[in-house]
Subunit: 144 residues, 2 copies
DNA sequence: ATTTTTAATGCAATTTAATTGCATATACTA
DNA sequence: TAGTATATGCAATTAAATTGCATTAAAAAT
């Protein structure tokens, strides 16, 4: 259920099955961590036009296929949504970890705790991001 | 203690007292909510060069005078740090509320709860942002 | 299978954001 | 008040994002 076929995902969302869309999904699904727009562009830039990539990412986000996480620089990063996501309400409220060394964003299991929102304010989504040094970069340091 | 004079803030941080720096602090202190780089630029663009503004914001962030909050678009927003902030460790771990209508970011009192970080990962900062409709925009809606 | 309809892609051009180098101007120090 | 250090503004550059439109490709209908 979780790791579905790109073609199925497209069909379920009434999106045309194009080479470019399939490639984007493949690339994003390949990595456990979220991948940034610039990195995607580096990887796919020769097979997919820059503008098309922007458009694909936007439609995927609208449909709830991907979720977008903004890192500490303001750069957009994308990861596959869990199957519980739907077009207009992402259920993506888990902790993200943004490594300030390698810049990767990890989707971690930890759920976002219940947060007390003041009267008058209505929250739709809550984003919880930890910034620091990840697993791999922590180990790498010891060898320096 | 909390609402200090711009000139004092500059002196305490060994920064030269310039017209531009004072204006930036005044402008940011004027609003309880954080203010975005583009909005600052609109307000100050005639008195301060665009590049200078970037540079001032960066030095303020480095010194711990301002903290930067990235909104859901990836745009930088700035607010005055509480007096507990120091140059290399911001103590800014409260809830931010980003209104998706007026785009303002509010610094709310709610503290960021303790978050369980997996082994191997080391977190330095934790960002907690709620997205939704603020106080004012919620009220405004009812009149439509 | 072929045609028709609908939508996605790529390209060119434009707009907006951010950064760099350097000459000039300004604030603080002695 | 002169000297020094540094901040500013301007010009130029680089990078990111968006828009319009002609072309191409996919799915639906025949």
């Amino acid at each position: 259920m979780q790791k579905r076929n790109p073609v199925d995902i497209l069909r379920e969302n009434q999106l045309k099955n194009t080479r470019q869309r399939v490639r984007v999904l493949e690339e994003i699904a390949a990595d456990k961590a979220a991948i940034s727009q610039p990195d995607l562009e580096k990887k796919l830039g020769k097979e997919i036009d820059r503008v098309t990539l922007y458009r694909i990412l936007n439609t995927y986000e609208d449909k709830g296929i991907l979720h977008r996480i903004i890192d500490f620089n303001g750069t957009a990063n994308y990861a596959i949504c869990s199957s519980a996501c739907t077009a207009h309400h992402h259920h993506d409220e888990h902790l993200h970890f943004n490594c300030t060394n390698c810049h990767k964003i990890y989707c971690l299991e930890t759920k976002v705790p219940t947060i007390n929102i003041p009267d008058g304010f209505t929250a739709n989504t809550i984003s919880l991001i930890a910034y620091g040094i990840c697993d791999k970069c922590g180990k790498a340091d010891k060898h320096n």
